[in-house]
Each structure stands twice: as structure tokens, then as C-alpha cells.
């Protein structure tokens, strides 16, 4: 055959290198002409299942959309539900919520960085990042009782109070992480191999990033300082002093640096929270009054649910919430018809919004850049497919 032809290359859907999805790349030699991610392999109909469950039962369900990032998903759903119920959490509970959310952000970014390192051949980074998740998972476990699926945030508050010694343990874990970030810098982040693989690869420029609607660290790496925690602050973020980490380059390496910067910001935020967390109740009085006094949380480590939680009935209406999850802006939309089940529930996850970045970032790149760009976007297929 003498005529030149492009080649349609299928990558996946078996996991290594492609995630739970299939990548269809149209190749001209080694250069990508067109790139189509083919998603839906881990679709679990979370939204439809939610319509068959009561409002409190949905809490573990929304966490399953994104297991590395459960606290933020839990928080987003509960904020929407609280708007429907017209209830606010006490201040201490709000501090505890953000404490868990930021711990979760650190170990979720470590997860993403580890996978990214593995994809471009730095197995050391995978092992280190996954090992260093452990102190934060252990912290979260002492606070909530579970390692990943916390189900910690409930309407009107949180389930458990800070355990004894938590403050000291957390401060130790944080200074350990700060020390480790310097190690990461030498062995991975500014390693010449990493620089050669990631610098100038998969560039999404500022205008494109805004136009196609990329969110989260990927957007901030393209020079746009958009963070829901600043734009539309929820819980106690207005009281916390933190910066939105922004880079202008828009390439795979900038996205990595933004995540490192966010880990540093989260460390500083957790220190602030531990320093000024107020005393008080961790469940709204409206629910606390329904619990028999002998099982109130002052006498035990966790709150008791009122029996009402088995069939919460919000009034008719709809509510939305926006939170900044680890991978970007997370949107929940909840419609109530006055019964015990939601009439409609919609989640727009950050990974779903970031998916389109594949098509833009990979055009004109080489085949070997696919894993480098894939890892840098920190795309999590189960989160996008829901």
C-alpha cells in the first residue's frame, strides 16, 4: 500500500495507563491528530439509585462516586441537603468538616501524584506518595472511624468530636509532610527526567481553559485563580487565611506544581483550624433535642442520630451546592417533592468537567505523552462516570 494513512489506536479499557476508560487516538506516525476519550465503563447510576434511597442513606452513596475524595463529596451533598432542610451546623462542627476536607485534599493529591509518577515511570514516587498517605488516612481514621469512606458529615453537624491527642498527632503528621515535600522536590518534582517528560507537554492556555470549562488545579495551572473556596466561600473558609495557588504555564508540570502548592496550603489551613477551633456542640440543637439525654454526645465519643434520620422529609423545593473538591468544583443539585426520597439528584463532578481537557491538551503531542498528560490531569474515571 503506497498511500499514507492515519492509524486509529485504541488504548484500554483495561486499566494500566488508561484508567477505567478507552482512549481512541488517531495517529499520524507518532503524532496525535485527534483524541477521543471513551467513557462510561464504571457508570453505576448513582443519581438514579439516589432517588430510591432516603436522604441520610445517600451519604455513603455519594462518597462512592470518588473514593479518594470522599469528605468533599460528602460535604457537598450535605450542604445541599441542609439548604433544603433549612438548618445550619454549629461552628465547631463546621471547623471539623473543613478539617476533614483538608486532610482529605492532602491524601487525594498524594494519590494523584503517586499515580502520575507511576505513569511516567517513577515508581519511587508511587511508593512514597502512597506511603505518605498513610499518616493522613490514619488521622482521618482516628477522627471518623473509617479509612476512606468516612460518612462523617451529616445534616446539622458531624458524627464525632475530636479525639484526645488528635491535635498533637496532626501537628506531627503535618511537619512530617512538610519535610517530605522537600524530598519529593529532589527525587520527582524537579528531577531532570520529570522536567523533560512534563515541561511544555499538554499545554492548555488560559483562554482555552476558560472556554472549555476546565476546573480545579488544572484550571489554576493555566493562570486562572478560580477556587470555589474563595469565589463562593462555604463553612469556615472566610475565616481561614490561604492563597489560591496559580501557575501561568498551563503544562503538565505546572499542574503538578499547583497540587504541591495546594498540599502546602492545606497544611497551613489545618494548623489554623487546630489553633482556633471553638468549643461547643457538634450537632444542631434541633436534632440534639430529639435524642434521649442519656445518649447525648457529651457522654460518648460520637453523636446519636435522632430517629427522624431514618426518614427525613425536607419541604418541597430545590437546592444546589458548590464545593471545591480536590479535583475541582463539585456541584450538587437536589430536588425534593416533600417525600422521604429525593425527586431528582444531579452531581456534576470535577473529573467530568476535566475530561474535555484530554482532547485539547493532547492534540499534536507524541504517543508517549499520553500517560504524562493523563496523570497530570488527575482524572478519576469513577468520579466522572458516577
Amino acid at each position: 500500500m503506497s498511500e499514507e494513512q492515519t492509524l486509529e489506536l485504541l488504548i484500554g479499557p483495561q486499566h494500566p495507563g488508561s484508567g477505567h476508560m478507552r482512549l481512541v487516538a488517531e495517529m499520524d506516525g507518532d503524532v496525535i491528530l485527534n483524541f477521543e476519550p471513551n467513557i462510561g465503563y464504571v457508570h453505576r447510576a448513582v443519581e438514579k439509585i439516589a432517588e430510591t434511597k432516603t436522604y441520610v442513606q445517600i451519604i455513603p452513596l455519594v462518597e462512592r462516586t470518588s473514593l479518594p475524595d470522599t469528605a468533599n463529596h460528602n460535604l457537598g451533598y450535605v450542604l445541599a441537603l441542609e439548604r433544603l432542610l433549612g438548618i445550619d451546623a454549629p461552628l465547631r462542627a463546621q471547623y471539623l468538616r473543613i478539617l476533614l476536607a483538608e486532610i482529605n485534599r492532602i491524601h487525594s493529591h498524594l494519590y494523584g501524584m503517586g499515580i502520575h509518577g507511576n505513569m511516567i515511570g517513577s515508581t519511587t514516587m508511587l511508593m512514597w506518595a502512597f506511603g505518605d498517605r498513610e499518616p493522613f488516612i490514619e488521622l482521618a481514621q482516628r477522627l471518623t472511624g473509617a479509612r476512606l469512606s468516612y460518612s462523617y458529615i451529616i445534616p446539622g453537624g458531624v458524627r464525632r468530636d475530636l479525639p484526645q491527642d488528635f491535635r498533637n498527632d496532626a501537628l506531627k503528621a503535618l511537619s512530617y509532610m512538610e519535610r517530605r515535600l522537600k524530598d519529593y522536590d529532589r527525587i520527582f518534582v524537579h528531577n531532570p527526567v520529570t522536567l523533560a517528560r512534563l515541561k511544555g507537554v499538554g499545554v492548555i492556555n488560559r483562554i482555552d481553559a476558560a472556554r472549555i470549562g476546565v476546573v480545579g488545579p488544572n484550571l489554576r495551572a493555566s493562570g486562572i485563580a478560580y477556587d470555589v473556596r474563595k469565589i463562593e466561600p462555604y463553612c469556615i473558609y472566610p475565616d481561614l487565611d490561604f492563597e489560591v495557588v496559580v501557575r501561568d504555564e498551563g503544562d503538565a508540570h505546572a499542574r503538578l506544581l499547583v497540587r504541591i502548592g495546594e498540599i502546602e496550603q492545606s497544611i497551613s489551613m489545618i494548623r489554623q483550624i487546630l489553633g482556633k477551633i471553638p468549643d461547643g456542640s457538634i450537632l444542631a440543637d434541633r436534632y440534639l433535642d430529639l435524642v434521649p439525654s442519656r445518649t447525648r454526645f457529651e457522654k460518648r465519643s460520637s453523636v446519636k442520630f435522632p430517629a427522624l434520620f431514618s426518614g427525613l422529609k425536607p419541604s418541597k423545593g430545590e437546592a444546589v451546592s458548590r464545593v471545591e473538591a480536590s479535583r475541582g468544583e463539585l456541584f450538587h443539585y437536589l430536588v425534593s417533592d416533600g417525600s422521604t426520597h429525593p425527586y431528582r439528584f444531579r452531581i456534576v463532578t470535577p473529573s467530568f468537567k476535566n475530561l474535555i481537557a484530554f482532547k485539547h491538551a493532547l492534540l499534536g503531542q507524541k504517543l508517549a505523552d499520553i500517560p504524562a498528560v493523563y496523570g497530570s490531569l488527575d482524572y478519576f474515571p469513577p468520579e466522572a462516570d458516577r
Partner: protein, 157 residues
Amino acid sequence: MKPKDRRAGKLLGLTGHMQAIRSGIEHIFKPRMTVLYPEVLQDLGPNYRGMLKLRIDICISCTLCARICPSNALKMVKVDVRKYPGITYQRCIFCGFCVDICPVDALEMSGSHDAACYTLGEQVLKPEDFSKDPVIEDKPRVKPLFDEKRGLRYESC
């Protein structure tokens, strides 16, 4: 790229490689966060949401646990005249909602999460079996302690 720049770039690359190698070598001699599971088990702490136990003498058969269970793992089963919760660990997701909603504290969680069985049937527990203590393996245990230099340090307990 001018020859001079190229030389500078090479030098920068070389120092980068040397730093990475030094950093890696340093870590060969540092102790690691490792638990030799399953020979050694990690102590999960008093608040861990592990396998459940029913205290059948306290249970008032209010059905709240079965109603809040998000995965239908808990079901009310008839024993003599009253109904008590039975559980299937094929479905349980260890969220602990049933424990937290029980008005009389008849359900409690243990620090064990090893729910592995030889047959599926063993994971379905009737109220009588549900009120027995979950099997806790008799193996050496280690307790994780936080450490500024090592992250986590495991001490036998």
C-alpha cells in the same frame, strides 16, 4: 540553543540527577512505615468502625437500624415472637449508621474488620449469631504512633 546554554543545561541536569540519587540513597537506610500483614495486625483503635455485635438482651426491636441501613444489610428476623436485626456482611459497608441511630445502644462496633469467610452463607448472620462476639484473630498487634521524622512508627502492643 547556543552551545553555552546547552552546557549550562547539561550541568543543571547533572546536579538534578545527583540530588535525586543522593535523596534515594539516603532513604535506603531510613526505617519504613511497614506492617507485615497478615502475620502482624494493626491495632485499629477504640473508635474504629469494624464488624458489628448485637446485644440481644437490650434490643427493643424498634427497627430503626434496619430502616436506616443504606445497603439493606440489616434486616429484621423473627426469633420466637419478636423480631431482631440480622446482618449479612456481603452487603455491609461499615458506615455505622445503625450503631449511631440505635436508641438503646444495643449495637456496637468492634475493632475487627476481617470478614473473610470460606462460604457465602457464613456471612449471613441470624440474630443469635449476630449477638456473638466477632472473631478476633489472635496475632501480634502493632499500634501506629505519629512521628515527625518517620510519619508513622509502629510499636507492638
